[in-house]
């Protein structure tokens, strides 16, 4: 029987390969996204009926269906943050607390937690669907019909992911910021909507722009990571859970990293 001994060079090689793979992954993903949108635009399928149907149905599937869960989570998060923070309104003042809540909840936590919900719901669904299609030869069938999966399957999902993330994050943030804090104020001190008005006053156009850009980017990252992982599936069926797991972890890590980088921009 062959003995398994620890080999330092193998361990270093493994670490090196992993690091290299981690480093090139974002680049891979950018190329993947560019390729999908490139095929979509190049073939003039921006207004293609089949592609448009796929896009609309996925916006509904990923966006509308997740709305109740998103609203409930948003209210819970608003309450969770509002309950300990509302008592500080007397010492900090509504204006300062409103600005703090807008920055924390509106620009950071809202998009981030919506993205986590999106990864768990839409990301997993997209990844599993495409991986199974690949495994069962359905993508090969599409190719035989001259249907390019990049512009029929992937590009619509990237668009749907971006739109759904933006819409869901808007609902999530609105309900968390306004509903949650209003409810927390009522519970803690029986106060009126002053804190909500102060939060609204703190919103500037640049914040709205950043909110939209960040959520669109998150949506595209989630959908791209999910699809990118799924198309790597070859033949063995055990690859599906492995690839899906990797894709969702990658989406999660990338979303957190991008969020941290955008937070740095506000300094």
């Amino acid at each position: 029987m062959r003995s398994r001994t620890f080999d330092i060079s193998t361990a270093m090689g493994w670490t090196g390969r992993r690091t290299l793979r981690l480093g090139t992954y974002p680049l891979d993903l950018v190329v993947f996204i560019g390729d999908a949108f490139g095929a979509w635009i190049r073939r003039g399928h921006v207004r293609n009926r089949a592609t448009r149907r796929a896009t609309v149905s996925h916006i509904l599937l990923t966006g509308l269906n997740a709305l109740p869960a998103t609203l409930l989570t948003g209210l819970a998060v608003g309450l969770t943050l509002g309950l300990p923070l509302v008592p500080f309104s007397s010492s900090l003042g509504n204006r300062q607390l409103g600005e703090f809540l807008m920055r924390l909840l509106g620009l950071e936590i809202g998009p981030l937690l919506t993205a986590v919900i999106m990864i768990g719901r839409a990301g997993a669904a997209m990844s599993i669907e495409l991986a199974n299609m690949k495994l069962h030869g359905e993508t090969a069938a599409l190719e035989q019909l001259g249907i390019d999966i990049r512009d029929f399957f992937i590009a619509p999902r990237l668009i749907a992911g971006a739109v759904a993330q933006l819409v869901l994050a808007t609902y999530f943030t609105a309900i968390a910021l306004f509903g949650g804090t209003l409810l927390a104020g009522r519970i803690v001190s029986g106060s009126g909507p002053e804190l909500v008005f102060a939060t609204i006053d703190a919103i500037e156009p640049v914040h709205l722009l950043a909110f939209v850009a960040k959520n669109l980017a998150f949506g595209v990252i989630i959908a791209a990571a999910a699809c990118h992982g799924a198309v790597q599936v070859t033949r063995p069926p055990f690859e599906v859970p492995q690839r899906v797991q990797r894709a969702l972890t990658a989406a999660l890590v990338l979303v957190f990293l991008v969020n941290a980088m955008t937070a740095l921009l506000w300094l």
């Binding site: 293609n48 009926r49 592609t51 359905e138 069938a141 599409l142 035989q144 019909l145 001259g146 249907i147």
Partner: protein, 241 residues
């Protein structure tokens, strides 16, 4: 394109050391036979323009397939069990898809055409997801999808699945319906079908390829053919008889 012009014109088409010359017109049925399934599949894909040949020329409906910008699906249909229906689309949506995608046809028009094609192929199951279909209905729906673009040429890879043996006559009828307006290239082990319907036979064996002008010419085609026919399963022999 004139009606009597060849829909498929292969000259010196090469795979490895084997070379094939064939011209096909509408209404013609050509069978691709041989014991080596993989090699047969490769030749079928080469003829359909889905796989590059090692040399020679190939024209489908007058267009040069090897020129690079040719899109095979516009002129020909390809049907194979390895390329199933999309599992998340119902049957009609599957059959509509090529026309929606390529022709940008109105959904109602594409749907009407899909229903018509399904009826032509003898499809009798409801508009359900492919997972709910039996194998025969699944084949009929796949055939309807392959015919969605009104191809002048249909390539079919082994439709006579052994589990569908009781329905072979229905499969045969579905495949031959409308062949007066299109040509059919079929890779199969069902020698009964080949004997009854194929005007010509392409025999693939040991890295070589031979074209025979009729079933009789094929049957008397020498040692390799005799060895192949002798090795065929009894079921196919009985059917051929």
């Amino acid at each position: 394109m004139a009606v009597d012009e060849p829909v498929l014109d292969a000259r010196g088409l090469r795979r490895g050391e084997a070379t094939l010359d064939i011209a096909m017109r509408r209404g013609e049925v050509v069978a691709l036979v041989g014991a080596d399934e993989q090699e047969k599949t490769r030749w079928l894909r080469v003829l359909a323009g889905l796989r590059r040949s090692d040399g020679g020329s190939l024209h489908i409906c007058g267009e040069d397939v090897l020129a690079g910008r040719f899109m095979p699906h516009r002129k020909s249909g390809y049907l194979s069990a390895g390329a199933p229906l999309l599992s998340t689309f119902d049957v009609i949506a599957n059959v509509m898809l090529p026309r929606l995608y390529h022709f940008q046809e109105a959904p109602l028009e594409a749907r009407r055409h899909a229903v018509q094609l399904l009826q032509q192929t003898g499809f009798a199951a409801g508009n359900v997801l492919p997972a709910a279909l039996d194998r025969l209905s699944s084949f009929q729906a796949m055939l309807a999808r392959a015919l969605a673009m009104n191809p002048a040429l249909l390539f079919v890879h082994e439709p006579f699945d052994i589990t569908l043996a009781p329905h072979w006559n229905r499969i045969e009828a579905a495949l031959l319906a409308g062949t007066e307006t299109r040509a059919l290239v079929i890779a199969t082990q069902n020698l009964g079908f080949v004997q009854r319907h194929a005007q010509r036979v392409i025999f693939v064996h040991d890295g070589a390829v031979q074209l025979f002008g009729s079933w009789d010419a094929f049957r008397d085609g020498g040692e390799a053919v005799a060895a192949y026919l002798a090795a065929m399963p009894k079921l196919f022999e009985e059917d051929a008889a």
